[in-house]
């Protein structure tokens, strides 16, 4: 029992450490948020300000913008720790590596995905979405953005210390996140079309649970390969 408690305190400490690092360097999280806002504002300029059209493409567009914004911060998930040696200490510590990795992913989600989900609510108002659609969008993002951190973490570990890390990371991870995009944006679109959203949420939830189990394991393996 004390063993499990010890693990949770250690994971909590890791989350706290990463969050305080984020708070001391607010620029990174703010840049992600502003990137999200800028990309979302480009669409009406690109496709024209027709309200009906914007309302139609808003769910998919906000999801894509959130996905791209999350990609920006992913390559720093392990890179700083890799450079200053923290990662070596994590690998050597008694905490199982997958759990340590999961703690870092949780911190990453709190500082990117969660903020993006709230920002999406504000941006959605610019696109004439109804109140209920905005709520569905928010919920789908809350369930979907953790997958960005979980699956993205694998890519961040695989591309650690490689040439052209950032672009390569997006190339590897974006195809894997397509199902998340389909079901996430699909939920809002289904609601707009007057259909049930339950199926989309069930599938998002299934993807979330599967990734929650497998992604930290795969990331831990990749980290060991990268650092050895």
């Amino acid at each position: 029992m004390t063993g499990a408690l010890h693990l949770f305190t250690a994971m909590g400490a890791l989350v706290q450490r990463d969050l305080s690092l984020v708070l001391r360097r607010k620029n990174d999280s703010l840049a992600t948020l502003f990137f999200f806002a800028v990309v979302a504002s480009l669409f009406p300029l690109g496709v024209g300000p027709e309200p009906k059209l914007l309302q139609l493409i808003a769910p998919g567009m906000l999801w894509i913008a959130a996905l791209l914004a999350a990609m920006l911060s992913l390559n720093r998930l392990f890179a700083d720790d890799f450079q200053d040696g923290t990662l070596d200490l994590l690998l050597l510590s008694t905490i199982p590596l997958p759990l340590a990795v999961l703690a870092k992913m949780i911190a990453h989600w709190l500082s990117s995905g969660l903020l993006l989900s709230f920002a999406a609510v504000v941006l959605a108002l610019q696109f004439n979405l109804t109140g209920e659609s905005v709520l569905i969008l928010f919920l789908s993002l809350i369930l979907g953005t953790p997958l960005f951190s979980l699956i993205g973490g694998i890519g961040a570990a695989l591309t650690l210390g490689t040439r052209g890390g950032g672009v390569l990371l997006s190339l590897l991870i974006l195809p894997l996140l397509i199902p998340v995009l389909i079901f996430g944006a699909g939920a809002v679109e289904a609601h707009q079309a007057g259909q049930s959203v339950a199926g989309h949420f069930y599938l998002l939830g299934a993807l979330f649970v599967l990734s929650l189990f497998f992604a930290p394991l795969a990331t831990a393996v990749s980290l060991r390969i990268a650092v050895e």
């Binding site: 490689t162 390569l168 393996v221």
Partner: protein, 246 residues
């Protein structure tokens, strides 16, 4: 001979593999050529026109085998990459890397011929149908595997990192295969199945099977050739290669 007496790992040594592959490649290459000629003659000259699609359907003699190979080769890439990752076997990783470009080529051919067929039949080069989209993702996975491998300088680390990526991507293969069953989309379902009599003319079936055999042998020949080159590259300081070069 009892099973335990067989040396299962004989051809896992790059040197014995190199010799064996060198002897096998001409046979596979000639076989691919002969089956290809036979398959194309049956497909283009003998098989009847389709009642609904006319002669446009004849692209399937290239399209279907390429699509089969694209999925099969990805499974093989993932299988050999996994063997290389788990047993730390050098040759298995090299084989995975050697199979990937052929797989990417097959995926591209399947998509390209599909577009050529789609224009006259569906009236569009491309539709965002479940099978087309998942095949496109397969192409991205091949490209991701190859570019991750290329981005890492140390070949052993590259092998192992790319193996993790290949294994994650395996999820996509059953999605492609069953997409036409799970989602009711534009792409037609399978005509050939193991469990019931084929619903196509026997010459069409023969042509398709001959072409599939040809593609299969072509993939083996090119992958073995590429793998031999990788062996030469990576083992360039081994004594037997120095001897080979003289």
């Amino acid at each position: 001979m009892p099973l335990s007496n067989i040396n299962w790992f004989k051809y896992a040594a790059p040197q014995t593999f190199y010799d064996l592959a060198g002897k096998l490649i001409p046979w596979f290459a000639v076989g691919a050529l002969l089956l290809g000629i036979a398959g194309l003659s049956v497909g283009l000259l003998i098989a009847p026109s389709d009642a609904q699609q006319g002669d446009a359907y004849r692209i399937i003699f290239v399209h279907v085998p390429a699509a089969w190979m694209s999925m099969l080769l990805y499974l093989l890439v993932a299988f050999w990459a996994a063997i290389g990752l788990i047993f730390n076997a050098r040759l298995a990783s090299m084989l995975a890397l050697a199979l990937a470009p052929t797989g990417a080529l097959m995926t591209f051919i399947a998509l390209f011929t599909g577009a050529l067929w789609g224009k006259p039949t569906w009236g569009a080069w491309w539709v965002w149908d479940a099978r087309l989209t998942s095949e496109l993702i397969l192409l991205f996975l091949y490209i991701g595997f190859l570019s991750l491998h290329a981005a890492i300088d140390d070949p052993r680390r590259a092998d192992r990192s790319a193996a993790v990526l290949a294994l994650i991507g395996v999820i996509n293969v059953p999605i492609i295969y069953f997409s036409v069953k799970w989602w009711n989309t534009l792409h037609q379902g399978a005509t050939i199945s193991m469990t019931k009599a084929p619903t196509m003319a026997s010459q069409m079936l023969l042509g398709m099977l001959l072409m599939a055999g040809s593609f299969w042998l072509y993939a083996i020949a090119t992958s073995l050739y590429r793998c031999r080159t990788l062996v030469l590259e990576r083992e360039e300081h081994a004594a037997w290669i120095m001897k080979e070069a003289q």
